[in-house]
């Protein structure tokens, strides 16, 4: 203390939060300037999870870029998959089948629910609500089981294909999904009761971290953040894609744009997603498959053996049964979920090994420097990711590798506007606000 007690001049302090901090979800560094406990200025340093996504895409074929997109927003990988595929489809100007549209909507919405569950769980845990975390993780596990049934993996699914999806939904998934949705709804309701009127939770989130409407627009923030600030913008409504124009759903809007509104918007969006999935399950064309797979089938290795000996005459109509991980990709299923454009769609196993056209088609798509070749040009396609508008700008120079794949990651813009939500509040509010933004380093740093 200096001798003149009347001098009230204070010095601001510089505090680093992160990059290795439990509340910094992954890796980001917030450089904060503090006046006592009040945050004066915040700067976010990003790039700790830069994995060269865009450069890797330029060095891989159009199809090989799909696994990289899984790992952009790893909490809802299916949406990234479909967004990228839809962008390339737009470049190639191909249409996907009606059933595939519905499958994409269903799986996108399942992914959206898992994302919101994770976000609310993590942010509630950081505010001390461990119970809510465990309940929501339980709900997420039900949905992961569905995703695993459909795609073969829990997280990094690579389910989307240019021109369709990898495989049709398994026969049992309809019942399982209904069951899982019911259980998820129950967990969401339970957490709703635990948190929504919880005094501690409300005190920590109400009127904290306000994002004004003007700031949301000027930083081009989209998704739940913008909707919590009262901006009625949802890509699913504004530019309907897949089958979103055929389903009924509401876009929840907040009023104040604070943490609590963001929480409420996410909770309501999960309920709307469940509503969308239920409608899709009802409306999806070709519910049951009527072609018997038993009459004329061979295991794929028998098929390969016979084809190698040259006895391919009888194989044209044979359907091969494939190993469990490829279930749903047999010929009858493939017609329903893949476009019949030979430029992009891999033939099914029975055709690849059963006739020369299928073999050549396979060869042309798989071999180095053949592959999918979109015409020279560029296009942009945006889907509603769990955090906002997730856009893919793809440019082709007519070769088998992308000339450029640029992502518009929703988190990047959220992080740009982050300081407006933190400045003027207390240090302890950083945790609450940062949790409600749902920063995903994978798509932020790419």
């Amino acid at each position: 203390m200096t001798s003149d007690a009347g001098n009230k001049e204070t010095k601001s302090m510089l505090l680093n939060i992160g990059p290795s901090h439990p509340a910094m979800h992954g890796v980001i560094r917030l450089i904060t300037e503090l006046d006592g406990e009040t945050v004066v200025a915040v700067d976010a340093e990003i790039g700790y999870l830069h994995r060269a996504f865009e450069k890797s895409c330029e060095n891989s074929s159009w199809t090989q870029a799909i696994p990289y997109t899984d790992r952009l927003n790893y909490v809802s990988p299916l949406i990234n998959n479909f967004g990228y595929c839809a962008a390339v489809e737009k470049l190639l100007q191909i249409e996907i089948t009606e059933r595939c549209r519905y499958i994409r909507v269903i799986m996108s919405e399942v992914s959206r629910i898992t994302d919101h569950l994770t976000c609310i769980a993590a942010s509630a845990m950081e505010l001390g609500a461990m119970t809510a975390f465990l309940y929501l993780m339980k709900a997420r596990e039900f949905l992961y089981e569905i995703i695993e049934d459909v795609t073969g993996a829990r997280l990094t699914i690579s389910y989307g294909r240019i021109g369709g999806v990898k495989a049709d939904l398994p026969a049992s998934v309809r019942e399982k999904l209904k069951d899982a949705l019911q259980k998820t709804e129950k967990e969401i309701h339970e957490v709703d009761q635990l948190l929504t009127r919880n005094r501690i939770f409300v005190d920590r989130t109400r009127d904290v971290g306000i994002l004004t409407r003007e700031n949301a627009i000027s930083f081009s923030i989209t998704g739940p953040l913008a909707r919590a600030s009262g901006i009625n913008y949802d890509v699913r409504k504004a530019f309907p894609y897949f089958a979103y124009d055929r389903v009924q759903f509401d876009v929840p809007l907040g009023e104040r744009g604070d943490n609590y509104d963001r929480y409420l918007v996410r909770m309501e969006e999960m309920r709307q997603s469940i509503r969308i999935i239920r409608q899709c399950l009802k409306d999806m064309p070709d519910g049951e498959i009527n072609i018997s797979l038993d009459g004329n089938t061979m295991t794929s290795y028998d098929l390969v053996d016979q084809a190698k000996l040259g006895y391919t005459a009888g194989l044209v109509n044979v359907v091969s049964t494939v190993e469990p991980t490829l279930e749903g990709t047999e010929r009858p299923f493939q017609k329903r979920v893949m476009t019949d454009e030979k430029r992009v769609a891999l033939p099914n196993k029975a055709d690849t090994y059963g006739n020369i056209e299928g073999l050549m088609n396979h060869f042309k798509l798989i071999m180095n420097s053949h592959g999918i070749r979109p015409p020279a040009g560029d296009t942009y396609f945006g889907v509603e990711g769990a955090n906002g508008e997730l856009g893919f700008y793809v440019a082709s120079d007519g070769k088998d590798q992308p000339y450029r794949v640029r992502v518009r990651p929703p988190c990047f813009f959220n992080m740009a506007g982050l300081h407006t939500m933190l400045e003027g509040y207390m240090v302890a509010d950083i945790v609450a606000t940062f949790g409600s933004i749902n920063m995903i380093a994978g798509e932020l740093d790419r």
């Binding site: 439990p22 992954g26 890796v27 999870l49 830069h50 994995r51 769980a121 993590a122 993780m137 997280l155």
Partner: protein
Amino acid sequence: MENLPSEGPGFFTSKLEAAVGWARKYSIFVYPFVTACCGMEYMSAASGHYDMDRFGAGLPRFSPRQADVLLVVGTVSHKIAPILRRVYDQMCEPKWVVAFGVCTCTGGFYDNYATVQGIDTILPVDIYIPGCPPRPEAVLDGLMKLQSKIENQKQTLWGSR
């Protein structure tokens, strides 16, 4: 008494060492250094369905000074690598490192300019859990392997170095 070895550690020391090993194996405090996708599977493994708590590793410590096991979860880029090393250096002995996911084991399919090609290039690793990301079952398997490693290794006791 003639069965006891005349050389090497005495009866009391070896029994004590076994007891310490047994105790340490069930009181693992992990420091989850979560950077990327694998964190989702870490969350799954840690919560109700798979429940890492059954193996005594339920309480994550977010201060390296309180942790025994550094769980490196997710891709380590060149930018985060010095921080990871610093966290490791801050941990007290005895300490172990688990490479969680293929990115930490070898760099995985991020074979590019930005990614560290395996964290064993910057710190010693005890257990590798491959997978992109590893399933929770694989995580639990890795954890049990770590437990048996902890139990059977030479224990650093007071005074004995």
